[in-house]
């Protein structure tokens, strides 16, 4: 049972990890919690659903289109809600972010209603038995696609020119701009990539849990942030690790403590991490500038 629960945790965690990546990238660049990230995840799920059910587009294509539209929404949110406030206080930007999140989820509620939509399963329902655990085809798909996306992202950030510019901007915006990097463009790209991952997570969770609702983004959004903080915010491998660990912690909490307190476990973990290791597991302690 322990190994089975561990597997449950890893699969749940891999979805958190994907969401956490978007948070961590954005935070790394503009030091802002992008509260609307959870809504981009919801939006991605809806786009995927509508493409598959209404337009009858093949699943894989719908997945890519959802990522593209998700990144478009992310960039729009950045442009409308965050960019005008880049020079205002952190407080204003944060309030604007919360407002954007609230706006998007309630707009979706208004348009789509609260009735959950069911996501058609593109894969044949099949279960694989191993000596220690049972895993379904959907779960393998979720796990593999998160893995592929994470590897692709790591490659993008470490090896490409844009990725290097992103890392430079995260390190020191002023110097990066002196070096001829267009900061606005880098921020836009960061939002685009982070949101694409969020939307991908939305579609995957859609097929995994089979339903899509306008309010589905809130909790996973928060959990994704918790995962990002756990791993060390701004740190890409940290977000992956944090996501997996959070998934395992939640499942183990549900399995061995009480399933009623599952969300509480996640938030308690967040507060403990913030207090005792605010830089997270892999993050470097930030030095306050005086």
């Amino acid at each position: 049972m322990f190994v089975q629960q561990l597997m449950n945790g890893v699969i749940l965690g891999s979805t958190y990890a994907l969401i956490a990546l978007g948070y961590t990238m954005v935070y790394g660049i503009i030091e802002l919690i992008n509260f609307a990230h959870g809504e981009i995840y919801m939006f991605g799920a809806f786009v995927g659903l509508l493409l598959v059910t209404v337009l009858d587009i093949p699943f894989f294509l719908a997945f890519l289109l959802a990522m593209a539209l998700g990144s478009l929404l992310g960039v729009t949110v950045e442009y409308l809600a965050y960019r005008p406030l880049r020079r205002s206080s952190r407080l204003s930007a944060l309030i604007s972010a919360i407002g954007a999140s609230f706006f998007l989820s309630n707009l979706a509620l208004l348009i789509m209603g609260s009735q959950p939509f069911s996501f058609p399963n593109p894969f044949e329902a099949k279960i694989y038995h191993t000596p220690l655990f049972i895993i379904s085809r959907v779960e393998i798909t979720v796990l593999l696609s998160s893995l592929i996306l994470m590897i692709a992202l790591t490659f993008f950030v470490q090896r490409t020119k844009i990725g290097k510019a992103m890392r430079a901007t995260a390190q020191d915006k002023d110097t990066a701009s002196l070096m001829g990097i267009n900061i606005d463009r880098i921020i836009t790209i960061t939002f685009a990539v982070g949101s694409a991952l969020g939307a991908a997570a939305g579609v995957m969770v859609g097929i995994y849990f089979r339903t899509v609702t306008p309010t589905m983004g809130f909790m996973p959004g928060l959990k994704g942030f918790v995962a990002a903080v756990l791993g060390g915010i701004g740190n890409i491998p940290g977000a992956m690790l944090g996501g997996i660990l959070l998934g395992i912690a939640e499942v183990m909490g549900a399995a061995y403590i009480s399933s009623q307190y599952r969300d509480a476990v996640a938030f308690a973990l967040l507060i403990i991490i913030l207090l005792f290791k605010p830089a997270g597991l892999l993050g470097r302690p930030a030095q306050e500038k005086v």
């Binding site: 470097r284 030095q287 306050e288 005086v290």
Partner: protein
């Protein structure tokens, strides 16, 4: 190296500070004589502001100790150090922008007053008296830096030179024994610099404060300091009277590079 003595209001032993793998300060043995104006110079990135931040408790030292009035203050929090008698200004002016000029100075008075939550609610006479005295002290400081008429303006609305002076008044309001000024003349025109020099001298003469200042404007530093310490790459490479420093080979090399 001078042995620390009673006449030194502040001295450090082997003070150092690392950031990750980077050594920002090492082996600093700073001695500040009571009642003097001391200059701290060095090229950009030499660690001058870092030294200020270590002295005032913003960064805990990685090695060594700091003694102020013969008491060790290493690893104390900034607000404790301020209440012990060290006040500072900032390189990039850090006023409380959306507070009035007078309120800014009153904040400096904070550590010399004591009223608490209950006092704030009930406002018995002693509380009012304390506030009145603090206000009077603050106004004295404002008139000392010649900003009395601006007391009800918002700090953000002051002219640049006035903001620099307000920062000094705010620091003085805490009645410090040692005042740390971080590039007070930065961005000032020649006339303002001259006025500033007069002001700093008056702080020493009239208020009997010890002053340590970081300054890039050599005219200002050489003009008012009695003793100058030079930092380069986190090390103290020289100290002495202004004329000694002016001709010190190490200092010239630090400023002009190895080829000179």
């Amino acid at each position: 190296m001078v042995e620390p003595a009673k006449k030194h209001i502040l001295y450090t032993n082997n003070l150092g500070r690392n950031f990750g793998g980077l050594t920002a300060l090492a082996n600093i043995d700073l001695r500040i004589k009571q009642g003097t104006i001391m200059g701290l110079i060095g090229p950009n990135g030499a660690g001058k502001t870092t030294l200020f931040n270590v002295l005032t408790g913003h960064y805990p030292p990685s090695t060594g100790q700091i003694y102020f009035k013969s008491e060790e203050i290493s690893n104390q929090k900034p607000y404790v150090i301020t209440s012990k008698g060290i006040a500072r200004t900032f390189q990039n002016i850090r006023l409380f922008n959306q507070m009035s000029v007078l309120d800014n100075v009153l904040i400096g008075r904070h550590c010399r007053t004591a009223s608490g939550l209950i006092g704030a609610l009930l406002r018995w006479p002693a509380i009012k008296q304390e506030e009145e005295q603090a206000r009077k002290y603050a106004l004295d400081m404002l008139s000392f830096v010649n900003l009395e008429e601006k007391k009800n303006e918002w700090a953000a609305n002051l002219a640049y030179g006035e903001q620099r002076r307000l920062e000094i008044a705010r620091a003085l309001a805490s009645d410090p024994d040692l005042l740390l000024l971080d590039e007070p003349a930065a961005g000032m025109n020649p006339q303002e610099s001259v006025d500033l020099m007069t002001l700093i001298s008056r702080i020493r003469e009239e208020m009997k404060k010890t002053v340590l200042l970081i300054e890039h404007d050599m005219k200002v530093v050489m003009g008012i300091s009695e003793w100058i310490a030079v930092l380069d790459y986190g090390q103290m490479i020289a100290e002495g009277e202004p004329h000694e420093i002016r001709h010190n080979k190490e200092v010239i090399r630090a400023y002009l590079g190895d080829t000179a």
